[in-house]
């Protein structure tokens, strides 16, 4: 495979920015003798990442477990709910207001309640992350299922297509790009939801994900470890995004404008 100029730029340019930022940060902290309890130098964060690796890795594992489970439930549930919405208008009318209520209510505000109601902390965090993640999937998939070409629908009617055929051969393929765009948003939101849920649950001392490590390190003034945990969260977010972009690209590259290689 040969890398195009665009690809090389897309990799090198952000890398250059990272080098400049981290280098500048290191230099600034040393030159201005900034208190490491306020802003530790990147080298200290790197060391913390090394020494606390086992602890941080197991916390990362927990956070990712919540994130991935919530995302999977949002992806499957969102798709099914969207199909239900377009199949029966009254279901959409009945349920959509509540989906919106869940979406607009800040998750931090519901979290303490849910942690009390749901005994198992993992389940509680899962539900919270799911609440944050599922709405973009539902709304995008519904839009995609609805925005089917009018004449193609006529054609299906003309040839006596069943509702099932119309859904499977027309509406679902048509909705795929919308759905995948929803998943990309929802992937990042699952992680955010998981971290927020942990912050709330963590203050009760029941969980030990990365957010809990940040709180804990904060109490103990282990500032480099805080940054190390933060670094892992961001990295996880970036990896999730890249993975979802890749999947989306692979699924759409043969036909959708967003993914095909342009030759003009």
């Amino acid at each position: 495979m040969t890398l195009s100029r665009d690809t090389v730029t897309a990799i090198l340019a952000p890398l250059l920015v990272a080098v400049l930022l981290i280098g500048g940060w290191e230099v600034a902290v040393t030159v201005w003798r900034i208190n490491p309890f306020i802003l530790p130098p990147p080298s200290a964060i790197w060391r913390a990442l090394g020494t606390d690796f086992d602890l941080l890795a197991s916390s990362l594992g927990l956070t990712l477990a919540v994130t991935v489970s919530a995302f999977a439930l949002a992806a499957v549930g969102g798709a099914l709910l969207a199909i239900l919405f377009v199949s029966a208008r009254w279901v959409e009318l009945a349920l959509l207001p509540y989906a919106i209520v869940l979406q607009v209510t800040p998750v931090v505000a519901i979290a303490p309640l849910l942690i009390i109601w749901v005994k198992d902390p993992f389940t509680a965090m899962l539900v919270l992350a799911w609440i944050v993640a599922f709405f973009p999937v539902v709304s995008n998939a519904t839009l995609g299922l609805r925005s089917t070409d009018h004449n193609l629908l006529n054609l299906f009617q003309l040839y006596g297509a069943s509702r099932w055929q119309q859904l499977w051969l027309l509406r679902i393929p048509n909705a795929l790009p919308y759905y995948l765009a929803g998943l990309k948003i929802s992937g990042g939101l699952s992680l955010i939801g998981a971290v927020v849920a942990e912050f709330v649950a963590g203050s009760g001392g029941v969980a030990s994900g990365l957010a809990y490590r940040i709180l804990e390190a904060g109490y103990r003034l282990q500032i480099p470890r805080m940054f190390a945990a933060l670094f892992l969260i961001s990295s996880a977010g970036i990896v999730i995004y890249l993975l979802l972009s890749l999947i989306s690209h692979l699924m759409l590259r043969r036909w959708h404008e967003s993914a095909v290689a342009r030759e003009n």
Binding site: N154, F156, A161, W255, H256
Partner: protein, 255 residues
Amino acid sequence: MRPVVRLAGIGKSYTTGTEALRGVDLDIAQGEFLSLVGPSGCGKSTILRLIAGLGEPTVGSIDWPTTTVDASGRPERSLGFVFQEPTLMPWATVAANVALPLTLKRQPRSAVRPLVLDALAMVGLADFADAYPRALSGGMKMRVSIARALVTRPRVLLMDEPFAALDEITRLKLNDDLLALWRDLGFTAVFVTHSVYESVYLSTRVVVMAPRPGRITADLTIAGPEVRDDVFRTSPTYNEECRRVSAALKEAMAA
């Protein structure tokens, strides 16, 4: 001879209150090439949609006197529809697009493939079966759309301004290819166009319509040779027929 399709006293009002058609009587004869011409909004598309069974007339009846009824008592309409846009599924290959009518009728795959390749060969796209629509030009997409309509070998082919969005050269070529298919396959063609010249070149009969409410104002049989080509296009007969249709159209627009 009994017509393939008979429209009797058709009226159609949309829920918006628009009276799209009033008192339309039309017998479509087996094997003819019928063009509908008329100003925008006179109900040409509405007539095609009603014939196709996409929507019911408000009053009047549409019969298929020579067809049997299916199990549910509806007439067995054997027809193909070509829209103004190619209306292809971008996620499916050309072959899968052409196969759609057969797929929807749950024909076995093994039976579908040869029919699809046959239909693609008829429109000159045998080599593009596995291409995706986005890789085709506008004219080629229209050919795919025609192949899809013909793959079931329908008795009636309905076309709603199929070539309106194409350039002159492509349109003339597609006109000739369509005529060749019509002669070979013997289907009945109902063709909507804005172009007087196109209608005269293609048709054995031109029906002129007027708007508000949509109605038929003239029904002209076109004199022309069996095989139409550039010789016909430059002949006095062609000129005379164009003049006749134009005059009828002018009258319809003044009415």
